[in-house]
């Protein structure tokens, strides 16, 4: 059903076409790749199918609106889209919390930080490096990484998935994350 995965350069070209001339064809190609993946990603992190699809819609519309803000020196297109989808999900959860509390103002997730010179130098290579590192993870390390990302209570869920007692899971998680970081750093 799905077409061969587009390359990182394809995606940059499409995003550039969206930013430069509001190219709906290029937007369609981005939508085809990302929208179904954002939805499945969100379902995996615990949202219903309907909520997941709504986040995927919101994210793709934000991609359209913010295309001109994309900076290839900072991140690959997939990483950029990932951070938008993540912010949408956090925003949604916190908007609900805010509505319950009747508070007026809301702020974005404060992760858009100033890039220093060394951040920039790393950015162009980072995506390829991270992908190489991820390909070398053991199944257990991959599970720890995945649950560290998505689980509301990572230790409890890692314990369940790996059938480990909760008492040992913290040190196992710490070890696995240290190993993952070592692999990422070795790839530098």
């Amino acid at each position: 059903m799905s077409a061969p995965a587009p390359s990182a350069d394809d995606m940059k070209q499409w995003l550039k076409a969206v930013a430069g001339r509001q190219d709906r064809g290029a937007f369609g190609l981005l939508f085809e790749h990302f929208a179904p993946r954002i939805a499945s990603f969100m379902e995996r992190s615990g949202l219903s199918a309907a909520e997941a699809e709504e986040i995927s819609q919101e994210t793709m519309i934000a991609v359209w609106r913010k295309a001109a803000l994309y900076d290839p020196a900072q991140a690959g297109v997939s990483t950029w889209v990932f951070t938008i989808a993540r912010n949408m999900r956090v925003y949604r959860a916190r908007t609900a919390a805010r509505a319950n509390a009747g508070v007026a103002a809301l702020r974005e997730l404060p992760t858009r930080l100033e890039a220093s010179v060394e951040d920039m130098a790393l950015a162009s290579e980072r995506d390829a490096r991270v992908r190489r590192a991820m390909a070398t993870l053991s199944p257990e390390q991959a599970t720890v990484l995945k649950l560290s990302f998505f689980a509301e209570k990572p230790h409890a869920e890692i314990a369940k998935e790996l059938a480990l007692p909760l008492g040992t899971v913290k040190s196992r998680t710490r070890l696995a994350m240290a190993k993952i970081r070592a692999i990422l750093e070795r790839e530098l």
């Binding site: 993946r37 954002i38 699809e53 819609q57 889209v81 990932f82 997730l109 930080l113 710490r174």
Partner: protein
Amino acid sequence: MINHHPSDLTLARLAGGTLGAGPQLVVATHLSGCSQCRGRLRSFEAVGGAMLDEAAPARLRPDAFARALERLDDADPRPEPQPRVLHPDLPPPLNAYEIGPWRFVRPWFRWRRLTLPEAPDANVIMLKVAAGRPVPHHGHSGTEYTQVLTGSFTDSLGQYRAGDCIEVDEEVSHQPVVDPGGECVCLAAVEGKLRLSGWIGRLIQPLIGI
């Protein structure tokens, strides 16, 4: 020179969007002064990008793309709020939040509370402890995140100076003492709701009467 950083798990959770609002603010304050951790965060965000590319595509409603196209020309209903700087003396993620007045608990110990409009339940406080003074002995009921803003303190695990971020989970019982050089100001948050058995809870409990 920063010697203490958030854990990999914490940065992965920040990248994945699962870290609670209070800890997130403490860690973001650390990141604003630590390019090493900004790099680590970006690596974890790139992990997220790679996971996204590898996700199995979900089956969307047949009109998903048509619905998105219809909305492209709508005006952005949610212009990004431009955070106002309320406290120019504080580091960036912190300086736009409303912070309550300093309250005395002891002559040598003060605290003030930060209000997070996006997370009214979050508990983030700023602590100011005089030089040479101990913070009462305590244990935790959840992971506690502390960022040193000025001054320094020492506990059995080491010395913590301005820019350091300390992450302590519930198994650790520690007794921080502010170093003799001067007062120490920290930003601290716990996961979830404030628990009375946590050290922050024990300290401010008598004051706010919970």
